[in-house]
Every structure is written in structure tokens, then in C-alpha cells.
Amino acid sequence: MRRNGLSSLLFIVVLTVVGLGLTLAAGNAPLLGLDLQGGVSVVYEPAEPVSDEALSQTIEIIRRRVDALGVAEPEIGRQGDAIVVQLPGVKDPDVALAVIGQTAELRFRPVLETVPILPDSTTTSTLEGETTTTVAGDTTTSSTTAAGSDTTETTDTTVPDEVTAESLGIELTAPEDDVADAEVILDSIEGERLRLGPTLLTGEALSTAEARLSGQTGGVWTVNMTMRGGADGIDAFNEAATACFDRTPTCPSGRLAITLDGEVQSAPTIQTPTFERDAIQISGSFTESEAKDLALVLKFGALPVELVPQQTQAVSATLGKDALDAGIISGIVGLLLVAIYMIAYYRLLGVVAMLSLALSGSLLWVVISYLGENRGLALTLAGVTGIIVSIGVAVDSNVVFYEHLKEDVSRGRTLRSSVDGSFASAFSTIVKADIASLIGAAVLWSLTVGPVRGFAFYLGLATLLDLVASYFFMRPLTVMLAKSPRFADRNRWFGLPAPPEAEPEAVPA
């Protein structure tokens, strides 16, 4: 028993020290939430119920927009149906909101011309070969597609040498100027910069899209679009297609660009004047993932999820720091009070309780730092509160054990004879009570949103660590102290009643 206790004590202390060492060595520190470091947080909800896939796609779109804002460590995640966007360090919520919250509208615009990219840009000249995306109208679904036409492509790309035209002052259209009926200049995801005419039709005209492996050409990925019927659907599309096919002034290049979020997703050359509603194919040198991405964009860009900001919060850096200081200082003061009380009341056992608390606190720090660094899990003020609250839970485990011990000793047993049995029954109580806490934390975590979740997570984590510290640290250390001959007759050191006289073996000869 004694050796067993010693090894578990060693195990947990070494684990903690190694954990702390690694945390310090890796430079990990808890990631502070917005309410502690300042920044903007927005909670969005879809205006109407949407599928999981659409929501994930929406998150992707938001992530792209946020990246465009240049925020250092954005946090974009889902909580139930809600999308939570956290932008540390961003000061003005309005700018962020405007960029993130705009509805993603898919637009079809004619390509007026390809313009040079200014010299500072590094993505350059490899464009030409790539602009081979084509729209193949296959009225009979098969052979007319001539996917082999990839090679016989109408290479519209009379791309001027990119360095020549810096004096033209061709700049990208700013996101706020990217309105449907204006002429704009946008970059394509393939690296071109295009001047585009006013929107001819929007994603509303599109019914669905999917990536498909074209059979007869063997392993060529294409994207098939299906338009809606009627004037706003296929008719509008065909009108645009005809204009491009005939290279009228509206669409001199013969290409129809599909834009989303100020970015050209694809700009295929139109190869047929009219199309069947459900037989429109975009072919090109797509890889599988490119084709699938484009299909997703078309599909969900076509039916954009309308996001409603439910809660926006802008916390100034000063207030955030104040809150953090307040949390830390009150935590320290509370801890000190508890330490004084415990040591005054339980003496040596109080010291064990505080060591045990320090140990579980260190482990908590290690876990929080790890999660913050690797999972982007932020410590919020609600989480800090959860941890402060868990001090009470952790100390209680000690109190339950010590009171049990005192009770046994007061019944006339010696400290060393009662310590094992006392722990067994006290631990059973501790486990029962801790599991009740854990159930509570788990329910809160899984069924709620926002700050309640953060609180529940840290409360649950601290409760788990309390169980670990009680079993692997408090038990062996208390047992060793209780059984040590040095303290054999010194019950007062444990805050225990004096040993009854009727215990001769407790009295040294």
C-alpha cells in the first residue's frame, strides 16, 4: 500500500512537472477570449432552417471574408445552428459586420476584358494555359460536349504582358463598390484580373450544380449546372449566353464570369448560343477538388443562407484587460482566504489540501494552454468564473475526506488505522457528487450557446482534474503523513482531536 501510494504520488507530480515544463518550453499560454483581450464577436443565425452542408459552406465563405480582412487569429465556429465569429483585436464592429454579414450573392457577369495585374502582385503569367474553362452545351447530353475541345479552346487570352500596364491605374473594385449593376474589376480564383460588365443574372436563376466525372473522355472533372425554368431562369441565362456567343458589345470576350464575394469563381467561354435548362456543363482542367468546390459555390451561392446577426459585441482592449485583472485578483484573494482557513482548521491536512489544489490548478493551466494553442479554445470571463467556482468543489473533496477521518478518529481509532478506510468511503461520496457536477456541466455544454458553454466546459474540466488530484495526490500524501511515525501521536497537527487514552499503541514507550 505504501509503495503503491508513493508511486502514484510520484507519477502525478512528475506528470504535472513535465506538463508544466512542456507548456513553458513550447511557449503555450491560455488563449484569451474576446471579453478579456478586446475585439469583436458576432453571433449569426440563418434566417430560416438550413442543412448542415449549407451551414458549413457559409462558415467557409465567412472564413474567406475574414481572412480578407486580415485579422490575426479569427475564430469562426458553429454552436448548434448559430455561427460564432470572433475577431480579436478588431476595433470597429461595423466594418467587420459589413464585410462578414453581407449575403453571399452569386452573380453572372459578362467579361469585358482581361486586365493586367499590377506589378506588385506575384501571381502572374501562368494564367494563359489555364483559362480553358468552357461552357459546353450538350443538348443531347453526350457527344456534342466535345470535351476534347479543351485543347481547341478559343483562347481569348490576349493577355498583355502584365508589367506593361501599371500606368493605367487598374485597381480592384473595393468590396463596398461591388454592386450588382455596376461595372467592376475583380480577380478570379485562377489568378486573372477581369473587367466585368453589369450583372446579367444572379444565383436565383440557378437551381443546383454538381461535380461530375465525364464518362467518355475518361477522368475529366466537369461541373454541371441546372437552371430554373422560366423567364428568370433558363431564359435569362440563354439571353446572356447568346450575347456572349455572338460577342455583342455587352460581352465582347465571349466569356461569362460567375462571381461570388467579389471574386470570380469561374469565367468559362460560351460555346453554344442556347442551352437546355438541365444540360449546362462547365469543363476545363479541373481537379476533383476544384470541380467540387466550384459546384458547392454554385449550389450554395445560388441559394445563399441569409444570416441575421443575433448578438454583436465589441469589447475595448482596456475593458477586457480590466476584466482579466479583476478575475485574476479576485481569484488570488479568494484562494488566499481559503488557504488561511484550511490551514488554520486542518493544519497539516490543510497544507495537503492546498498542495492538491496547486497541483490540479497546474494541470488545468497545462490543459487550457494546450487547448488554446492547438484547438483555438479561448478562455473567457465566464470560463474564469467557472474555474474560481471550482476552487470550492476541489476544496470540498478534501473537506469530505478530512471530516470522515476526524469522525473515525473521534470514535477512538488511531489516525493510521482509519486513513485507508476513510478515504474509501469519502472517495465514494466525492465521486458521486463530482459525477453529478459533471452531468450538469455536460448538459450545459451540449445544449446551450455562448458564454454558458465556456463556463460549463471549464467547470467540467476542473471537476475532472479534482477527481484526479484527489485520487492520485491527496490520498497517497495524506496516507503517508498519517502513517509516518513522526506524526504518530501528533493528532493536533492534523487538526484532529487528541487520541483517546485508551489507545496504548499510539503512545510511544
Binding site: 443575433q310 473521534s410 477512538g412
Partner: protein
């Protein structure tokens, strides 16, 4: 010997069943008062539940009147204005549009003499609060069901009933305190309310576990009524309850006093008031609500009814013998009669020592 010394040395012998009657009166009064406050005064819900905007800015020296003067031209003279902590100005208004919100932000920044970015703004849509509340409510129901099932499995269903009633009692009183004093209810408060459930259950489970332990003890079986055994168990865990409550209250008091009053962290304040009330109520209810309820339920079981009948018979017989003879074994303690404080931790024979222990 003072009560503290008695407690510390396990010689406390409080006649809980006698106190339970008073406790019942207190509890009923508190619950009725709370329900009255909740339905009569209604809760003061924060913007997170009603929708609206809130601003916070450090503004030393600015008074509520100054802020109101600034807000009046913007049509927001009815906004709720507070100075929290030392010098943080806090303004809350009903739903405003983006333009108005920006105007108010600018005005407050100017008033406080700081950059616009120093003003914290939070805005909540009108439906979000409903959603938070309905989610919290759903979480609460699931929590109750799971906890009942857990206590039922680990202990017994009568204790599950007792624990639930105690938790509800605490919850009603806490919400009642918020209604009565018109403290603002925010998501942080909801978290605190939910934590209270945890505390209250924790205390109750510790008591119940002790009762279950005593009930299974060979030395006690059949020698005490269930109520007496509960009283004994309560005496045994009383010091633990006091110590735990004290050590839990200390960090929370620190949070309330240091965190919110001195440093002005509003969230901490919101948390700690609810936690403080809940903690005290939880410790109280584990002794005065959860336990008597189970005692009452258990005393109706045939087994404990017959024990009671038998023991009362013994008492009556003994009462006829005027000299109150002790049977020499110190076992027929007259608990519950309130005449002699013979029930103590020491009255219970020590459990047999386990063999093979190191000495």
C-alpha cells in the same frame, strides 16, 4: 463546551427533526415570497433577453446626469445609465438602428474623452434572448431528468425526489431574490443559476450518502428510526457542510468585493450575487428540505414503520420506569425525544477494525 468546539470534536448533537418544523415554515415563506416577487414584480431582464444595445466605457468623473445630457439630443434620454465599479459608464438602450448606435458610440466616446475604439458596444437581436432562454430551459429539464436517474441508480428514488425538490426550492429563491431586488438578469446570471443547481445537489448528495452509509451499518440497523438516523447523519456531516460552504463562499465573496466593487467587472458581479445566494440556500436546503422530505417518505415504508413502533414501545416502557435505567450498553439512545443529548458520534460503536492493517 461551545457549539464550535462540539462541532469540531464531533460531539454536536443538534435535534434536527425539531428544527425541521421551523425550517419548513421558513422555506414555505421564502418560496411564497419569491414566487410573489417573480410573478408580481417580474424579472429585470438585460438586453441579452430583450434585445437592444449596451455601451461601456471607462469614464472617470462622468456622472449619470452628464451622460443623460449627452444622450438627450439623440432621443435616448430614457436609456438606462449606470456607473459600475469605480468609473465605468454603462448605457443600455432598446433596439436602435445602426446609425443611431454609431451616433451614441461617438457621443459617449467624446463624453469620456477617449477614442471610439475604447467604447465597448454590444448589440443583441430581439429573438436571440428567447433562444438563449429556451435553450437554457431545455438544458434544465434534461439536467433534472439525468440527475434524477443518476441519484435513483446510485441511491434511491425517494432521494431523487428529495434532491429535486431541494434544487427547485433553491432555484425559486434565487430567482426570487433577483426579482425582489430587481437585479438585472443576464446570461451570466443564468450560468450562476445553473451552477447553483450543482452546488445544491452536491450538498444534498453528501448528506444522502452519509445516510445510506449509516443505514447499512450493522450497529445501527433496527436500533433507530429513519428520522433519528437522518438526524445523526446530519450531525455527522454538519461540519463538512459548514466548511465546504465557507470555503466556497470565500472565492465568491472575493469575486464580489474585489472583482466587481473595486475593479468594476460587471460580469463578475452578476455571477457572484447569484452564486452567493444560491450557495447559502443550497447548504440550507440540503439540511432543511432535502433531508426531511426523504425522512417523511421513508418513515412510511413498512420496515421503518415497524422499527418506529417497536422503539416507541421501548420508550414508553422505559418512561414507566421512573429511574430511567440505562441498559448498560449505551445503545438505546433516546434520540428525538429531546430530553437528553445522548446521541452523538460516540454513541455508535466503532466499526470492526479491518485485519491485516499495518499498525
Amino acid at each position: 463546551m461551545s457549539i464550535i468546539n462540539k462541532l469540531a470534536s464531533f460531539e454536536n448533537d443538534i435535534d434536527f427533526p425539531k428544527l425541521w418544523k421551523r425550517g419548513a415554515v421558513v422555506s414555505v415563506l421564502l418560496v411564497v415570497l419569491s414566487l410573489g416577487a417573480i410573478f408580481g414584480l417580474t424579472l429585470n431582464l438585460g438586453i441579452d433577453f430583450e434585445g437592444g444595445s449596451a455601451w461601456e466605457v471607462p469614464a472617470p468623473g462622468v456622472t449619470v446626469a452628464d451622460a443623460r445630457d449627452v444622450l438627450r439630443p439623440l432621443g435616448e434620454e430614457n436609456a438606462k445609465i449606470q456607473i459600475v465599479g469605480d468609473d465605468t459608464l454603462r448605457v443600455q438602450a432598446e433596439t436602435v438602428d445602426d446609425v443611431q448606435r454609431n451616433e451614441i458610440t461617438d457621443a459617449l466616446a467624446e463624453l469620456a474623452g477617449v477614442e471610439r475604439a475604447e467604447v465597448s458596444v454590444s448589440t443583441v437581436g430581439p429573438t436571440w434572448g428567447e433562444e438563449i432562454s429556451s435553450k437554457a430551459l431545455r438544458a434544465l429539464i434534461v439536467f433534472f431528468v439525468l440527475i434524477s436517474a443518476y441519484i435513483w441508480i446510485r441511491l434511491e428514488w425517494k432521494m431523487a425526489v428529495g434532491a429535486l425538490v431541494a434544487v427547485l426550492h433553491d432555484l425559486i429563491i434565487c430567482v426570487g431574490v433577483y426579482a425582489l431586488f430587481q437585479f438585472e438578469v443576464t446570461p451570466a446570471t443564468v450560468i450562476a443559476f445553473l451552477t447553483i443547481l450543482g452546488y445544491s445537489l452536491y450538498d444534498t448528495i453528501v448528506v444522502y450518502d452519509k445516510v445510506a452509509e449509516n443505514a447499512n451499518r450493522s450497529g445501527l440497523a433496527g436500533k433507530m428510526t429513519y428520522t433519528e438516523m437522518m438526524s445523526l447523519s446530519l450531525n455527522q456531516v454538519l461540519m463538512r457542510s459548514l466548511n465546504t460552504t465557507l470555503t466556497s463562499i470565500m472565492p465568491i465573496l472575493a469575486m464580489l468585493i474585489v472583482g466587481s466593487f473595486i475593479l468594476g467587472a460587471v460580469t463578475l458581479q452578476e455571477f457572484s450575487v447569484a452564486l452567493l445566494v444560491g450557495l447559502i440556500s443550497g447548504a440550507y436546503s440540503s439540511i432543511f428540505v432535502a433531508t426531511p422530505l426523504v425522512a417523511w417518505l421513508k418513515e412510511r415504508e413498512p420496515e421503518y414503520r415497524s422499527i418506529r413502533a417497536r422503539l416507541e414501545g421501548t420508550e414508553a416502557r422505559k418512561a414507566r420506569n421512573d429511574d430511567d435505567r440505562n441498559d448498560g450498553e449505551g445503545r438505546t439512545a433516546k434520540v428525538g425525544s429531546g430530553t437528553a443529548p445522548t446521541l452523538s458520534g460516540r454513541a455508535i460503536p466503532a466499526r470492526p477494525r479491518k485485519q491485516g492493517k499495518r499498525r
